[in-house]
Point group: C2
Chain length 670, copies 2
């Protein structure tokens, strides 16, 4: 394998390898195996195929690149450095995995310009890639004209054995095959090694055949270590097939070049050590010092800067033509990309009075979604096969299907986790789309990793979750959330909102849409069952997370805090207590996250420290409520699994009745 003289391309490829080796050796932490093995495919892709502009990482029409095998992030940092991105300098590479660096342990889009999505948790990246390709297909179908294609890019993904073992990748790949996303090209780094050793110990399926079964175009590069032409030809062939996504299995040697560690699990996730690093240098004929890149290599890879400027100039010209011919569409496109909302968009959201008939908040949600769909063409999404239970159809906007990419209703199938990561990919296309995904609240458990990543990676995904309590009813404890709201509220940077009625549902959507544009994710929890419209609820109140809906004269004796379907119990109980001469405040708390974001003075005005007699009422666990009810308060809650019975029966049996709220309040009042 030793090379006497290296071609320029070999020099470039070895530059990638040794940037990874040296950075990981310096930090004594990281994963050199993948960058060393996948360097050739990355080089060919970035050098011969990918269109991007290093000096403007956010250039709209760039090809999107996703390193789904995120642990191999030094591959991506090396490419960003070599191709001339300002976000990754050689100093940044020397700071690999250190506090405050731009080269964290896995690719993070919010830390490093040029990184599109946050990967590391395996399988997320390929599913994000499906989302990016859906965004491209949708925008292309919407905006492109026969004489002017302003949306026209590929999505490339490098994924590994680990990604392919995860169920989420199967969900997303099956869906991508169904949709025929021809501009999605995945390179599978087939190196037969995972952390436990050879993939023979756990993973012996025929991956290519599986992707064929999904409807993908599948290719194989037998020698991904040195056969650059085969890699090139495969990518060309992939591009030539426009009605199917392509999976190129690229067989490589993990840790290629390390004489004693290549093709072993030992090189997957640990520094080579000084001796093996030296031996690897020798073996690959690498005469350069740590972090030293031969000028010839850099001169070559940095041609990307000029190429990129040219791509962007060409596209700017195309867009100028487009704008001249199609000013209205161009204006809309520009608004999309700016991330701005159209003026007055929120005026369409309805408000209600107590005279309006009781409805499930999922029905209010359907109404909001459809009102918003008319004024926000960037709103696009759907359900994981529960469209008519979640009530998430955007009526009149068609189904997003192969050849019908202009449409806005996505049928994700029973693939919650894939749906989550696909929505995140759509959001992180950074083209102004507002993606939403829906299922029963309980099934957030299936997609939790994607929900967390939405929050972490600043993807403005909106999660529309219905059947939000034991009110779900007959389906029973497997389908009834208990701990679910608490478990979601605990996630940083995710805003959870559980509206009580029509006004609060409008408030919830107001927040969710604004947050989406601000790159923050929101989860909305809606009832299956009818709830009355209450006096005192408001959109403005929801924005503050918690607010007073019923108040007493003077300092209250007791505060009842309700959310969602249980707020009306508090209101009715307060009426009865007031009739008995008690001073009662009712606080609606649709979102503890939003409430915590208010200043201390506001929070004190709603929940004064002096009032220690408090009762929370929520058809879910008490976990987390003691922050608001204190040690002297009581939670009307359910701290066990639910039961199969009609929803009203469940509510009654588990104590979500005015009588029980009253009794609990009286107990607290003493």
């Amino acid at each position: 394998m030793a090379v006497a003289t290296q071609s320029l391309e070999e020099l470039c490829i070895n530059s990638i390898r040794f940037l990874a080796v040296d950075a990981i050796e310096k930090s004594k932490s990281g994963h050199p195996g993948l960058p060393m093995g996948a360097a050739p495919m990355a080089f060919v892709l970035w050098d011969r195929f990918m269109r991007y502009n290093p000096k403007n990482p956010k250039w709209f029409n760039r090809d999107r690149f996703v390193l789904s095998a995120g642990h191999g992030c030094m591959l991506q940092y090396a490419m960003l450095y070599l191709t001339g991105y300002d976000s990754v300098t050689i100093e940044d590479i020397k700071q690999f995995r250190q506090w405050g660096s731009r080269t964290p342990g896995h690719p993070e889009n919010f830390e490093t310009a040029g990184v599109e999505v946050t990967t590391g948790p395996l399988g997320q990246g390929i599913a994000n890639g499906v989302g990016l390709a859906i965004a491209e297909a949708h925008l292309a179908a919407k905006f492109n004209k026969p004489d002017a294609k302003i949306v026209d890019h590929y999505t490339y993904v490098i994924l590994g054995d680990g990604c392919n073992m995860e169920g989420i990748s199967g969900e997303a790949a099956s869906f991508a095959g169904h949709l025929g996303l021809g501009k999605l090209i995945a390179l599978y780094d087939d190196n037969h090694i995972s952390i436990d050793g050879s993939t023979d110990v756990a993973f012996t399926e025929d991956v290519s055949k599986r992707f064929e079964a999904y409807g993908w175009h599948v290719l194989h590069v037998e020698n991904g270590n040195t056969d650059l032409e085969a890699i090139s030809k495969a990518i060309e062939a992939a591009k030539a097939v426009t009605d199917k996504p392509t999976m190129i299995k690229v067989t490589t040697t993990i840790g290629y070049g390390s004489p004693n560690k290549q093709n072993t699990a030992g090189i997957h996730g640990a520094a080579l050590g000084a001796d093996e690093t030296a031996l690897t240098r020798q073996n690959l004929g690498w005469t350069y010092g740590p972090f030293e890149i031969p000028q010839d290599a850099l001169n070559h890879t940095r041609k990307a800067v000029e190429r990129g400027a040219g791509y962007e100039t060409d596209w700017n010209n195309t867009f100028a033509d487009y704008k001249a011919k199609y000013p209205q569409e161009a204006a809309e496109f520009e608004r999309y990309v700016s991330g701005k909302l159209p003026d007055g968009w929120d005026k369409v959201l309805p408000t209600y009075t107590p005279e309006d008939k009781p409805l499930p908040t999922r029905k209010h949600s359907e109404n909001c979604l459809n009102k918003l769909a008319a004024v926000l063409p960037e709103l696009i999404g759907g359900s994981a096969d529960l469209t008519h239970s979640n009530l998430t159809e955007l009526k009149g906007f068609g189904d997003f299907q192969k050849g019908q990419y202009q449409n806005r209703n996505i049928h994700f199938g029973v693939r919650e986790h894939g749906m989550g990561a696909i929505c995140n990919g759509m959001a992180l296309h950074t083209s102004g789309l507002i993606p939403y995904g829906a299922t029963f609240l309980i099934f957030t458990d299936y997609m939790r990793a994607a929900i967390r990543l939405a929050a972490l990676s600043q993807a403005g995904s909106i999660w529309v979750m219905t059947h939000d309590s034991i009110g779900q009813g007959e389906d029973g404890p497997t389908h009834q959330p208990i701990e679910t709201l608490a478990s979601l509220r605990a996630i940083p940077d995710l805003t959870v909102i559980r509206p009580a009625d029509g006004n609060e549902t409008s408030g919830a959507y107001t927040v969710a849409i604004e947050k989406s544009k601000a790159h923050a994710s929101t989860l909305l929890a809606f009832t299956r069952q009818n709830v009355p419209n209450l006096a005192g609820t408001s959109i403005e109140g929801v924005k503050k997370g918690g607010y007073i809906v019923v108040d007493s004269q003077g300092t209250p004796d007791i505060i009842l805090i309700g959310t969602g379907s249980e707020l009306s119990l508090c209101v009715t109980a307060a009426e009865k207590l007031t009739a008995e001469g008690k001073k009662v405040r009712v606080v609606s708390m649709p979102s503890t996250d939003l409430f915590e974001a208010q200043d201390a003075a506001y929070r004190e005005s709603v929940l004064p420290k002096a009032v220690t007699k408090r009762v929370s009422v929520e058809a879910g666990t008490s976990f987390g409520w003691h922050k608001y009810i204190g040690t002297e308060g009581e939670a009307v809650s359910i701290d066990r699994f639910g039961a199969s019975a009609p929803g009203g029966t469940c509510m009654e049996k588990f104590g979500f009745t005015v009588e029980n709220v009253l009794a609990t309040a009286k107990k607290v009042l003493g």
Copy 2:
């Protein structure tokens, strides 16, 4: 489709259909489509193939049946009733989906004898089935002798389109193919309909080809509606292939027999209504009233009782022979099945003093697992491709692989969700196995639905989770748990334990093993990094969940509450505060779940109401801690995502230092 005269078998099959139709019509809730379409395959399976004893649902060597498409539970209740189980009477069927009934909205093993596992959340059942088949293969390899097979049964699963769309089923099926589980036979009810309509809207992959890619033996019954012989032949062919699991695609019509609703989504999840029920009776020539089963049909299906008694008698004879020839093995087998632990098993768990060297608790966990493995041969499990990070190898007990089923180290691959449901299946084999599954704590997000189902379905799975905080270090925020512990503590009936040192790790395993045998699930959270062994920690303390490790003379001025790696910060801070004249108590709280299970007097003795100055210290979210620190306390916590840097740096930067604990305590002291 109308039938003038019905054969006995048609009569039986229509009995299944109308039990479903009538029960769902009465409750006005449920899913008739699957039972109507899958009745023929269920009948053939239960009548011609499956070995079970209705009068002893727990007979050890029964074939296991799993309805992965759990929404079709009326199919299973109908089979249990028709074959003579006492758990489901006609009165129970009339109480379908009602409060307190034995016929809940999805199959629940803890409610209905004869139901093996709890299904409903899609894809779980097929993965449970893989676990059941693993349990069978392991016990057969361990106990069977050439002249006496005491473990010898099949696992049959009926799954639907929804199950096959979920990633978890792909993970489990890939693994089953890898392991060559020849006694796992899955019948795929291929009815082309899911809730959103035709599977054409989202699911057009070639499922059979995908299963072939996984290494399964795949068959197709083209007419699953009426061709009973084809179903029979397929099951025979499946049994004949002993080195691969078999997937039989059985093409059916959802809601078969309903003239206007069959083959539509309308019959998937809603009652037929009175008119369509009448028309269906007419169409299928069903002259019987609601819940009326023709005596000929019942006479036939109830033959299962006599058959079952015979199977059990035969097996009892086999076991008697076995016991005579192999008394030692028979005694061990009997202990397994009894669910009892061997005397003195917990004596092997080590204890420590502060002089013992600091180690990561994951290392203590490895030590416990290996000590326990020697005395508990029923301990079997492994990691989702992180064996040498989680430190979960049972050394000397070999890898569980195809043809090596006697071994006890399972390499699950990067398939956390599949691992979870497989462990649950092994636990619910009810043969005394103690299954454990391991990954990084953060990746509980990938397997949360299975963790919840372990708790709900009373499966004694043990979850071994390492890298339990930002101390994880360089991998960064995608890999660092923040909200994870809180989100798990909120799950009912799951015991979460985060031990502080060696003694507490021994305590954690004591609890986890005992709970496993009592059919309760435990999640253990271990550090990546070293922690000191502390004075005052104990196994007994862990059993109580929270206990005093350092105390003051008289009523304390302040209580510091620590868990896991942060307990030592509390101990050191307490020393300093004591030196400054403060009276300080330190409480170790490895498990809030266990603490809550203690009586009020004990809890008061540890955390007296009178002491309101309290500080909790845990490298995770503050969410949930206010129950213990009250409104006057403070949480030393991290309420944002972490960062990529060495673990020690993260701990320091985010305030998990003695200095910050001290400063916080002083702030609380005022």
